[in-house]
């Protein structure tokens, strides 16, 4: 009874701001109602979503964005964590520098990067001009815009993920690495066969965080490209916003929300399962 009383405040908040909206959006996704129509139940929203070419583009972009940001930023984060895991003055300074982007709000960083990527006058083109490269329309070219966005996201997130790997590495007992060394394992063998398996729980956690980030981090897209050119940098969350707020089509928005939250949940469970299979937990 006391336990329930103690839980009550957070439970109330969870119910009001998480569980109820989840139920509400699920119900809305199965409600067919467009301008001036009577509401009825059915799969019309999902059918329209499947037929919408824009949703197809947005899904492709989101997958590219996820793969393009998660793999490099996790690899870099792990590399930096390995290099900087031993305490020292230089390591402390470098760690701070790497975590710095995390302290800048994404929307503010995006406002700055608009000027870094400015064709001709921007910081990037200014330096590339020394190598004889002409002005490049980084954010206005359908072939480059998504990669520019991905680059910023990697820059922004790597330091944050490194913190988790540093914590994970600190949790690995030195004796295990020592034992491997005594057994004659080289640096790379020790990394692959001892350190990586022991980092399993960290990997599982960081991968899920990174996946959620690719879904919710769209601040820079809104500021820098508005999803353009021609939807080339548009992502699922911004698509949902466009349907709900610009087109007043909350049914389509709800269907897209249900699909992508469901998909993300599935992916998270699968990746945790896959990563935990080889995981060694300390008892």
């Amino acid at each position: 009874m006391t336990a329930w009383l103690l839980l009550a405040p957070s439970l109330l908040f969870l119910a009001a701001f998480t569980y109820w909206p989840v139920i509400g959006v699920t119900l809305r996704s199965f409600t067919q109602q467009r301008y001036g129509q009577q509401a009825s139940w059915g799969f019309d929203n999902f059918r329209r979503l499947a037929a919408d070419a824009h949703f197809g583009h947005v899904l492709t972009n989101s997958v590219l964005y996820a793969v393009g940001t998660i793999i490099p930023s996790l690899a870099l984060a792990l590399g930096f964590a390995m290099a900087l895991r031993r305490p020292g003055r230089l390591a402390t300074v470098l760690r701070t520098v790497l975590v710095m982007p995390q302290l800048i709000p994404l929307v503010a960083a995006a406002a700055l990067f608009v000027f870094v990527f400015l064709p001709g006058e921007g910081l990037l083109d200014h330096y590339l001009a020394y190598f004889g490269r002409h002005a490049t329309n980084w954010l206005g070219s359908p072939d480059l815009a998504l990669w520019a966005i991905i680059a910023i996201t990697i820059w922004k997130n790597t330091g944050y993920y490194m913190l988790f790997f540093l914590a994970g590495l600190a949790g690995i007992p030195d004796e295990l690495i020592e034992a491997a060394r005594v057994d004659g394992a080289h640096g790379w063998r020790r990394f692959v066969d001892v350190i990586l398996p022991l980092l399993g729980p960290t990997f599982g956690f960081v991968t899920v965080i990174a996946m959620v980030n690719t879904l919710i981090q769209i601040d820079h897209i809104i500021v820098m490209t508005g999803g353009g050119p021609s939807d080339r940098t548009n992502m699922i969350l911004y698509y949902i916003y466009q349907q709900a707020e610009q087109n007043q089509d909350t049914g389509l928005a709800a269907a897209a929300t249900v699909l992508c939250v469901g998909g993300l949940l599935l992916l998270s469970v699968l990746s945790l399962r896959a990563l935990e299979r080889g995981i060694h937990y300390e008892s």
Partner: protein, 435 residues
């Protein structure tokens, strides 16, 4: 307990007695950079101290789109603001959705007919403020696209800065002379236009209208004319500027890229809003001039800007208070002073009869060009689902500018996408026939 309640009631009554003025809130956006927000607050304070019946709290609500969202949310929550400065191209949606109230009754109280009332404003801004003869918004600040060009670049290319291009042919000829290349790359573009979402649709509608077209159905929100000769021709013109004449950079240039290229001499001519006049004056280091946007078949530019509206759901008392504010803000003197401060033109025609306004126009010849071009102003694109329907076109024009699509097939696709978005409204109106 009863004593406490009566004491509370007495306190409440005292409160309302001391506070005879009607308290209302007013949502306003700031779509351009600068000191506009402070100036708006100062203007509202001017209104508050000019009388004692109404006290207005100004609420800054972000950009035009944010203001739209916040107003819709407030109306849905049953707590609408008494007055909003709303982007004029959302006006039709507000009328269709019955989210803004017709102002005819308030206008009648002042002894005017809706027609006589709206005739106090420039003809070009009237269509976006009215729907089927009812007044829904009172125009407050407006702009049009305009051509900016560098005097130095013109002289260097052997062109006369006093004779800017007037037709599309002259425009292309001038742009070719003004363009500088290093291999395939443009080191100075002859021309750049703002091609990001929102602005691109606005400018394309202008080129379409100049090319003889209509762009959208002005009387009813269910039709757009994308897959027509006038629009395809206008988009082909943009395609040619990039890929045939090679005087405009490939891809999409946003407002920052266009402005900085103009300031640094990497663009000789640009098309931007008259609302950017102050910004260009402050940042352009070499002499520049402005001119009408060159024409194909006729001179035509779309109107941009915002009108004052009263959202649905306000009490008669709050409506009357909001109307008082609106009347003040759109009076010739106040409307004129806002125009001089911002660079927008004043939609209220009588503002230009005031001596201080005549003075300003005499001192700023570029402001005069903007006013003269207003004679060719056309209403701003407004349909059901305006933003989505506009984006359907913009996605395709961006693909053309990037060399990923050809104008004819791109406009066929844009028409298809727009029709799909308009369909629910069409079914409930034009196709809803007697049973």
């Amino acid at each position: 307990m009863r004593k406490l309640a009566s004491a509370a009631a007495a306190l409440l009554m005292m409160g309302s007695a001391a506070q005879a003025a009607t308290e209302i809130d007013f949502f306003f956006p700031v779509p351009v950079q600068g000191k506009l927000s402070t100036e708006m607050t100062r203007m509202v304070e001017g209104f508050n101290s000019s009388q004692t019946d109404v006290h207005v709290t100004p609420v800054f609500t972000g950009a035009y789109d944010d203001t739209n969202l916040k107003t819709r949310a407030a109306v849905a929550a049953g707590k609408p603001p008494a007055a909003v400065l709303m982007s004029a191209n959302f006006m039709r949606e507000y009328a269709i959705d019955q989210k803004a109230m017709p102002l005819d009754a308030l206008i009648a109280k002042d002894g005017k007919t809706p027609e006589a009332f709206i005739e106090q404003f420039f003809p070009a801004v009237r269509p976006n403020a009215t729907e089927n003869g009812h007044v829904y918004g009172v125009p407050f600040q407006n702009s049009t696209p305009i051509l900016y060009y560098s005097v130095d670049a013109f002289k260097e290319a052997g062109l006369d800065p006093e004779k800017p291009p007037v037709t599309w042919q002259e425009w292309v000829d001038a742009a070719k002379k003004l363009t500088k290349r290093d291999g395939d790359s443009l080191t100075r573009a002859g021309l750049m236009i703002v091609e990001q979402y929102d602005t691109l649709g606005w400018l394309t509608s202008g080129f379409t209208m100049s090319n003889g077209g209509e762009y959208y159905n002005r009387g009813w929100g269910g039709e757009v004319y994308y897959n027509t000769a006038s629009t395809i021709g206008a988009v082909q013109f943009l395609d040619d500027l990039v890929h045939k004449f090679k005087v405009m950079p490939e891809g999409v240039s946003d407002a920052n890229a266009v402005a900085s290229a103009f300031f640094s001499g990497r663009a000789a001519m640009i098309v931007n809003s008259t609302g950017a006049l102050g910004f260009v004056r402050d940042n352009m280091k070499t002499p520049f001039k402005v001119a009408f946007v060159p024409r194909a078949i006729r001179n035509a530019v779309p109107i941009g800007g915002a009108s004052l509206i009263i959202p649905e759901g306000n009490s008669p008392e709050r409506q009357a208070a909001a109307w008082k504010l609106i009347t003040y803000l759109t009076s010739p003197a106040v409307n004129g002073s806002w125009s001089r401060f911002t660079g927008y033109f004043a939609p209220r025609m009588a503002a230009y009869d005031l001596p201080e306004m005549k003075d300003y126009i005499a001192k700023n010849p570029d402001a005069k060009v903007a006013i003269d071009q207003l004679a060719y102003g056309q209403p701003w694109f407004a349909t059901f689902n305006t933003v989505g329907v506009r984006k359907a076109l913009e996605d395709q024009v961006q693909a053309v500018l990037s060399g990923k699509a050809k104008p004819a097939e791109a406009m066929a696709q844009a028409q298809k996408d727009a029709d799909a978005l308009l369909r629910p409204y069409v079914e409930q109106t034009a196709l809803k026939l007697p049973q």
